[in-house]
């Protein structure tokens, strides 16, 4: 083994990405392609009465304008299509910014301008746009994806009643949008009854399945290609209407059609993080032992969808509390369906980790100490002790690196010039998934390895990490390994969402590479022309692209020699189950506040994480920096504004919807415990990790603000006006 796994190997696709050689979905060059553009509804609720397409059709270059009257009837797919309706199948309007017509033209500019010329007349009904107007109509939705929305353990109400110390607080977070830099795009190419889609999707297999279902086609008749993503953050996890509509338009037009959503259209087309209200009641002994947690949340739902995408998971598993009651309620609004958005559990976790800080002050116990006191060692999935949970070590390592021991707990006591300095912390955790995956590995006649898997490079480093695993298991230099991803012609592998790519795919990849190595060794030792002929297979080791006889290193030859003689490629499949679980960590934050002007900056962040084994230090650190930065966005600025009268997004662009820029991003010291988790042995001890960093950042910032100026903020974003 060359020991690449764990090292900070540079991205194998880095050069292609920074030079523009990497071809993203919309870069696909399809001969004869037409350009699509969507016409979006300008009302939030009601019906299309009339669509006048005459002006649009007269516009130069326009090939067709399709409406609900033209579209083929499609079958409504289930999850991971989560819209509960397909636009343009009928006249109904469910939200503002819903597709009502589809323009196809020779150029993008022609399609865009023709879309402006489509005149739509509506019968409009007054929409409900604001949660606060309907909070008294909150209800408990049915199960969502086999998960109940009310979960109780012990008797939380009674325990809360008896608790020596109680906290009862309400928190809120607004509607937010993913905003990947690469817009959603779909290019549909029909060839007879088969369809090829060039997509920007976090799951080529999911997309294929949804499209095949909607069009009543066999899955083998649909191919989805998505070699790179310019970010997804959950917005490209489920499959969305624009993909179905583009496939339908291409079929009607009899020509390939390419669609790229505009930035504004992305605010109503691909889900968002729902607005939330959350009441948290904590009960504890005076010594700081949690005795009750009641977590009652209300999410923004729609009239047709009851999906709860931001689970209160950390409330259920993070702390050892015998009495827990979680209720995930919702209210119905006339808005687009929400969805998963970068580390969905952050939404609930912000409340829990802020409440824990409030409890620590109520008790006079250090916030780190309070968390250690309530540390949970039982894996909720198995009911047995976690085999490899090192959260306590994360607290210790991050606290030490941060200098937490020097913190004076009383708010407002740390000053630097005209700035108040605040130190806050929070636990980080997120669930990761496991999705059944298969991969194919080929050793070619040139002795090089090619891995094929229908999973994705969402930007986290999938190409790199899988190549490292292959290289290590084969004993082959990294540059002799090629990894191919994002194509449904490859074996079906994990969605790149829910932090599930690594725990799902690494095991099958390692297994395939081991099988391939064994197959090549078997060829060598059986071949009289090989220097290794007759060596027992288990005595052959592979390193640097060569096979050696253990104890007689003079007997050796390269993969290429074996393969060239053999004359036929070695092809193997790898698979193998893993289980879902959680990753953990701690985040410590320093803020500097000048309350006179409400000026706040996050000046320093230290994290320590326990993701099981770290497969690549560099990409793992990248996840931490990204997670912390998005956490700053969540805490300080991100906020989708919806007009109260029209239920229309008011800031659908990166000028109005603020995300952090470089100047907002502080130095981040990212520490890792880096110990393999026996429960994820198949994945070389690595757990899913991507969504864990950042989950604690909003609470840690709020806690640091309280420490700095003694003001407890419970409603994100913490904008300047709240600090005055």
């Amino acid at each position: 083994m060359s020991g690449l796994v764990g090292q900070g190997v540079a991205r194998v696709d880095g050069r292609a990405k920074v030079t523009g050689a990497a071809r993203y979905a919309a870069d696909s060059e399809v001969p004869g392609v037409l350009h699509g553009f969507l016409v979006m509804s300008t009302i939030a609720r009601g019906e299309v009465v009339e669509i006048d397409t005459s002006q649009a059709l007269a516009h130069p270059g326009v090939v067709a304008v399709y409406t609900h009257r033209d579209m083929p009837r499609l079958v409504l797919p289930d999850f991971p299509y989560n819209r509960r309706f397909i636009p343009m199948q009928d006249a109904r309007v469910h939200h503002n910014g819903q597709p009502v017509a589809y323009v196809v033209a020779q150029t993008l500019e022609q399609a865009q301008e023709a879309a402006n010329l489509v005149k739509v007349r509506y019968r409009a009904e007054a929409p409900v746009a604001r949660m606060e107007d309907v909070l008294d109509e909150a209800f408990l939705p049915d199960m969502f994806r086999n998960r109940p929305n009310e979960i109780a353990r012990g008797d939380a109400a009674a325990a809360l009643e008896r608790a020596e110390v109680r906290i009862d607080r309400t928190y809120s977070s607004p509607m937010q949008h993913h905003n990947p830099i690469e817009p959603h795009t779909s290019t549909a190419v029909w060839d007879g009854d088969t369809l090829t889609l060039y997509e920007s999707t976090q799951g080529v297999v999911f997309t294929r399945n949804v499209v095949a279902h909607a069009f009543g086609m066999g899955r083998d008749k649909v191919r989805v290609i998505s070699p790179y993503l310019g970010g997804g953050f959950g917005a490209k996890g489920p499959t969305y209407p624009h993909t179905l509509l583009t496939a339908a338009a291409a079929r009607l037009a009899g020509r390939p059609v390419k669609l790229v959503l505009s930035r504004a259209q992305m605010y109503t087309s691909n889900g968002h993080r729902a607005e939330y209200r959350r009441r948290l009641q904590l009960g504890a002994t005076r010594q700081g032992v949690l005795t009750a947690i009641v977590d009652t949340s209300t999410a923004q739902l729609t009239r047709i969808d009851e999906g709860i995408y931001n689970g209160s998971d950390s409330t259920l598993h993070l702390y050892a509390c015998p009495n827990v009651h979680v209720r995930q309620m919702g209210v119905r609004l006339d808005l687009p369906t929400s969805s998963y958005m970068r580390s969905p559990e952050t939404t609930a976790h912000f409340g829990l980790e802020t409440a824990m800080d409030e409890l620590s002050y109520e008790l006079g116990i250090d916030p780190v100490e309070l968390r250690i006191l309530n540390h949970n060692t039982v894996n909720p999935r198995t009911g047995a002790a976690y085999a490899g949970k090192h959260l306590l070590e994360c607290y210790r390592a991050a606290a030490e690196a941060f200098g937490w021991a020097r913190r004076h707990p009383r708010p407002g006591t740390m000053r630097d010039g005209d700035e108040y300095v605040g130190w806050g912390m929070a636990t980080e955790t997120h669930t990761y998934g496991w999705i059944e995956s298969e991969v194919g590995l080929t050793i070619g006649l040139d002795g090089r390895a090619t891995l094929r898997a229908a999973t994705q490079e969402i930007g986290t480093g999938t190409y790199t990490v899988l190549s490292q695993v292959v290289a290590d298991e084969l004993g082959m230099p990294l540059d002799q390994v090629t990894t191919l991803l994002g194509d449904t012609t490859y074996p079906s592998a994990s969605l790149s969402a829910g932090s599930s790519t690594m725990p799902s795919v690494v095991g099958p990849v390692a297994q395939a590479a081991r099988s391939a190595r064994e197959a090549v060794i078997a060829l060598a030792v059986a071949d009289p022309r090989s220097p290794l002929h007759g060596v027992p297979a288990e005595q052959v080791v592979a390193e640097g692209g060569r096979l050696f006889a253990r104890g007689d290193l003079g007997r050796r030859e390269g993969y290429r020699d074996v393969m060239a003689r053999h004359g036929r490629a070695v092809e193997v499949l790898g698979r193998g189950p893993n289980t879902p679980g959680h990753s953990f960590g701690a985040v410590f934050v320093e803020v500097r506040i000048q309350p006179r002007l409400g000026r706040l900056r996050v000046s320093r962040v230290v994290t320590a994480h326990d993701p099981g084994r770290v497969l690549n230090r560099r990409t793992a650190r990248g996840q931490v920096i990204g997670g912390v930065t998005w956490g700053i966005g969540f805490a300080l600025m991100e906020h989708t504004l919806v007009d109260p009268d029209t239920a229309r997004v008011v800031n659908p662009n990166l000028s109005g919807y603020l995300v952090p820029v470089c100047a907002d991003a502080p130095p981040v010291e990212a520490l890792f415990v880096d110990r393999p988790d026996p429960e994820s042995e198949i994945a070389l001890g690595a757990r899913g990790f991507g969504e864990t960093p950042g989950t604690g950042v909003p609470a840690a910032i709020g806690n640091a603000i309280y420490h700095a100026i003694g003001r407890r903020l419970r409603d994100v974003p913490f904008t300047r006006d709240k600090l005055l």
Binding site: E109, E113, D643, T646, R648, V650, G656, V661, D721
Partner: protein
């Protein structure tokens, strides 16, 4: 975006001539705002006249004034040694604007004519009295964090987004215009109009007129000036509240003071009463506080921008305290 024609003009006179004979035309320099407005459908023009090659991009200082050519780039002006030395508020206002990439492209004239960031104005499907006169103003009852507490009315409460315009307002700049009727100069105090019942009319410019230069007089006060910009992230964002201030004191007594405010008014906001309240008095916390109260005496805040009433007063205290050496 509608297809449009495009002509490169070779001189200011030619640009104005082309504009006069071309209906639905407008001038384009850096295009950093105009093209976005056209893409979003907030503006539509049949023809763009490129003014980048008119020879009006100079930055020149003489005995009386600083002249900024209309097509000088933001970056060049911001980094010009004379501007930094003698008009620091201009340099600071420019460097606090947009991003380096935008500042490399955007012109001084275009900066003064950029349109409001009001989300309702920029969304062609929303009503907006500025974009479609008479259609209504949803910002008054909707989202108005970015909107004005001064100078608004029932028709419009949008703020002007330019930082440069705020600084120029404080320094009594003059805008040079060339149009079908010839050349004229408009003091910046008269250049931006209050919305009244015609919010679509934002400036005193007449149809077909082109900004050719901006003059900033050399004064004894401009060299001691600053720009304070408060916003919702560290950079690349418009002001929630900003203040341009220039101050000259003798002893502690204010000899001269110039103040203009951004993010709070429907135009770059200057209130001479505020300056008068400070002039001739010792610069004290109390004097500044009284001036600040005068500034917001007629403020009309809305649900989302109520905090600006307090914040702009604090910003005034902060910048004058710094300039006056009060701390």
């Amino acid at each position: 975006m509608r297809a449009f024609g495009y002509t490169v003009a070779g001189s200011p006179a030619e640009a104005v001539r082309i504009a006069a004979r071309t209906p639905d035309s407008t001038f384009v320099a850096g295009g950093t705002d105009l093209l976005n407005l056209m893409r979003d459908g907030a503006e539509a023009h049949d023809h763009l006249i490129d003014v980048n090659r008119l020879g009006i991009g100079e930055v020149a200082l003489d005995r009386r004034r600083l002249r900024l050519g209309a097509t000088a780039r933001m970056r060049r002006v911001a980094e010009h040694p004379a501007v930094r030395r003698e008009f620091p508020v201009l340099s600071e206002a420019l460097l606090a604007s947009a991003s380096p990439q935008v500042r490399n492209m955007a012109s001084i004239g275009g900066n003064l004519l950029q349109r409001t960031r009001c989300g309702y104005f920029r969304d062609s499907a929303s009503p907006c009295n500025k974009r479609v006169p008479g259609s209504g103003c949803p910002a008054i009852t909707g989202h108005n964090r970015g909107h004005a507490i001064l100078g608004g009315g029932d028709h419009c409460i949008a703020t002007h987004p330019s930082d440069l315009a705020v600084a120029l307002t404080a320094l009594d700049a003059t805008v040079g215009l060339l149009g079908p009727g010839g050349e004229r100069a408009v003091p910046i105090a008269d250049f931006y109009l209050l919305p009244g019942s015609t919010p679509e009319q934002e400036t005193a410019m007449r149809p077909g007129e082109l900004i050719t230069w901006v003059d900033v007089p050399r004064t004894s006060v401009a060299g001691h000036s600053r720009y304070l910009k408060l916003r919702d992230r560290a950079t690349f964002e418009f002001a929630v509240v900003s203040v341009a201030a220039a101050l000259r004191t003798r002893g502690r007594v204010v000899q001269d003071v110039r103040l203009a405010f951004g993010g709070v008014g429907t135009r770059p906001w200057r209130d001479l009463r505020v300056e008068a309240a400070l002039r001739g008095r010792p610069l004290t916390g109390q004097a500044i506080a009284e001036a600040g109260r005068l500034l917001v005496a007629d403020a009309k805040p809305y649900e989302g921008n109520r905090f600006k009433v307090e914040l702009v007063q604090r910003a005034l205290v902060s910048i004058l305290s710094d300039l006056g050496g009060l701390r």
